[in-house]
Amino acid sequence: MTSIPSEPLKDPLFQLNAVLWLTQPLPDGGEIIPLLYARGFTVYAIAPLLGPPPDLRLAAQQAQISMQDMIRPDVVLTHEGDRKFAFTECKASSFSPTSSAAEQARSLLVVAGPRAAEVLGLAPGDISESLLAFVIPEDEEKLLARTLANLHEELEGNRLPAAQFSVLGLQLTDTDVSIVINDLGSAFFALPSGTNPFMKREPDTDPRPLYFIPYDPDVVHSEQEKVLSKRALFERMQSTIVAATGRANPPTELALESQKILNDAMFGMYGHWENRESARHMRRLCRQFMDALTQAVNAVVLGAMVFQPVEVWKISLENEEQHERVIDALTRFSCETLDLRTEPQPGLFDDLEDRGSVQQD
C-alpha cells in the first residue's frame, strides 16, 4: 500500500493543485470552496515560460543583481472583468536573499511588475493591476514576506520596477485547509483578510484533492511525496492504456507511443515541457512503467505486447478471446507492485527519443 505523506502543505504539487481547484466551478456547500472562482478569477496560463524585458535584464546586470533570464511561474490567474493578473508561485519553504531561489523570485517580481502586460504579450491597457503571489505553508509566511521585501527594495533601489507581492499561507487544521491572506492580497483577490477555509477535512484523512497535474519532474519534494505522485501518474498511464485496449476491435495491432501516453496522463502538459532533461525523465518513467506492464501482459499472453524502438509499445489483439485475456492482464497489474522509489534508468534510446520529441515540437 502506498503510504500517504503527512505534510501536504509543503508539497508544491498539493499547493499547485489546490490553487487550480480554487479556480474551478463547484457547487455551494461542497468539500472545496472555490474562493478564487467565486471572486471571478480563472486560470490564464499554467507554467508559462516568461522572461523579464531585455532592458531590465541589462539594468540588473549593470547593478550586479542576479536573476534568471527565463522563469515559469506555476500558474497565472486572471480576473478578466477587472483586468487583474496574479503570477502565482508555490514553495515548500522560505529562502534567503542569497539563495538560488532568490534569483527566481527577483525575476518573478520583475515579470509580475508594471511591465507585466509586455511580458505576457498584451497591450498596456489589458492589465489594470498585477501581483506576485507566493503560496507557502503558513508558518513560513513571515520569513518569506521579509525576504521578498528585501528583494523588492533591492530591485526598486536599482530602478528595476518590481511587482507588489502577497504571501498566501496555507494552514491545516483537523477540520479544514485554509488560506491565510494579508491586507494587500485581501484587496487584490477581494477575500477577507485573515484565515479563509477552502477545503473541508475529515479526521485521519489526507486532504489532497484529485490532482489535475499529478507529477512535475522539476519539483523538489520528499521521497514519500514523490512516491505518491508517481503512483498517481502510473495509475493514469494505466487507465489510458486500459481504455485504449478496451476500445480496440480485434483483429488489430495497437500502437502506444510514450508521447501520447504521457500527454493523456497529464492532460496534455507533457508536450509543454521545453526542458529536455525533464521530458527525458518523464519518458524514462513511462518506460519503467511500460516495461513492467509488458512483462505482466506477456506472462499471460506470450508475445502480445512488444516494445518497438524508438518509443512505441505494440499490443497484438488477434481475436476476441485474446483481447479479453490481454484486458484481464492489463487490469490485474498494479503499479503498487513496482518499487516507486527507484529512479528510472537511462535507456539506450534516450538520445534518439530526444530528437524525436524535438522534431515533433
Binding site: 500500500m1 502506498t2 500517504i4 487550480l20 474551478q24 466551478p25 463547484l26 457547487p27 455551494d28 456547500g29 461542497g30 468539500e31 480563472t42 486560470v43 490564464y44 496560463a45 499554467i46 508559462p48 515560460l49 497565472v76 505576457l120 504579450g121 498584451l122 475529515e202 485521519d204 484523512t205 489526507d206 489532497r208 484533492p209 484529485l210 489535475f212 505518491l228 503512483r231 498517481a232 495509475e235 493514469r236 494505466q238 487507465s239 489510458t240 486500459v242 481504455a243 485504449a244 485496449t245 478496451g246 476500445r247 476491435n249 493523456d264 492532460f267 496534455g268 502538459m269 509543454h272 484481464d328 487490469t331 498494479s334 503499479c335 503498487e336
Partner: protein, 418 residues
Amino acid sequence: MTETTLRQIRDRHQIIRFFDGYAIERMEELDERKLKRPLVKSQLLEILDGDEVRTPQGLQTILSRRGVHLEPLDEWLFLATDRQTGEIGFLERLRPRIVAIYSTMKSDDFRRCIRHFVLRSPEIDHVLLSGLTFGVLWELVARLSRPHRFTRLVFTHDSIFDIDSASSELEEGEEETFQDSGEEELEQVIERRATSFRLIDRVGVIQEKLEALQKLYSPLYAISQMRFPSPVGRGGHDFYDNGRVTNRSESFRDHRSHLLFVVRIYEQLLKSTEEQAWYSIQESVAVPGQFRKIVGAPVVIRFREPLTPSVFDYWIAATFERKRNRFRLWGHPIRLGPTKVHVYGVDRHLWQPLFLELTAKGCTAIIPNGTCGNTVHRLVTNIQRYLDPGAEAFIGDKPYKQMVEESTQGIPYDLDTE
C-alpha cells in the same frame, strides 16, 4: 392481420403501417386481457461519436462487429437480424448519435438480445435515463397531459452495499425490471433498504403529491420507469431507465414521436454534459502556442446522507475488486482516509478514462476530454439506484437537473416532424 415476417416489409411507409396496425390489434387484445403477441417495444441506443457513426455504412460496420446484420431499407432505416435470433426488428437512426430498434420480440428475448451485443461493444451503450432526468421528464408529462389522464411511475432503489448482500448481487447481471411476482412467500429475507414499486394514478393527483412524498421518502426520487400518456388515444409509452420503451398505445407514429422527443432532449444533454465537463489543457487565445490553461468542470455528486464506513468500504470493495461490478468501473483505489479514495480508473463499458474521488459524502469526477457523456449518466443512474436515491448532481456549479431542464428548452413536442 395475417402473420407478416419483417423481411416482407420493404420501406418506411410499410413499417409505419405494419406497426400501426399491430399496435391497434394489441390494444384490442389488452382490452380483452388476452395478449396473443408481444407489444411493440423500442430500444434506444447511444452510438459513440466518431467517423463511423456518420455514415450508414459505418453504422452497419459497428453493428456487424457484434454479429448484427443491417439490411438497408432507406438511408438510415435497416432490417436488423442476427444468426442467433433471426429477425430482431428495424433499426432507425433517430439522431446522429442515437438509434432505435423497433421490435415485436418477447420482452425477455429482446432484452437478452440487446444485452448480448451492447455489453460486448465499447461503441454501443444504452440510453441511460437517471432518476434526476426522469424527474424533469415527469414535469413535462405533467405539462403535456390532461390531469385526468392515467400514468404509471416505477421507483427502484436497492441499497445493495448495505449489509448482508450475497456476492452475486453485487455483480452486473440482467437489468432488473419491475415484475409482479406471485411467489412472495419465497422472497429471501434481506435486511437492507430496497424500494421497487409501481404507482398508477391520474397525472393531476401524482403532480400534486409527488414532490411532498419525495421529501418524506427519498427512494421516490429514484424513478426508473415512466409513462408518457398518448395524446392520440388510450394508453401511452413506457420509458425505462435503460432506454427501453414499450408501446402501450394504439399508434406507432405517436410512439415514435415520443422517442424522438426524448432522444432530442437526451442528445442535447449529452452535448452539454460533454461541453462543460470535459477537462483538457487548451491554448490561451491571446498567445496561441505559448500559454495553456485548464478548461472543464468537475462532476460532483453529493449524497443526501453520508454513507456509513461499512457501506463505503463495501461499495469500494464490491466495485473495484470485482471485474463485473454494478458500476462497470475499473481502477486501483488509493486510500487517503477511512472514507476517502482516489481512483484513476476507466468506465468499463465505453472504455473511457475517468478520475474519481469517492468519499462517504459523495463523489467528484474529472472527465478527460473525449470521454462520452454517457459515462456521467451511468454514474448518476447507478448512484441513485444503489447508493442514494436522493443524491444531487452538479456539472461544475450547475445542478444536473438544471442542465436536463435546459436540454428540454426548444425541443418540439409534435408529431411527424421527422
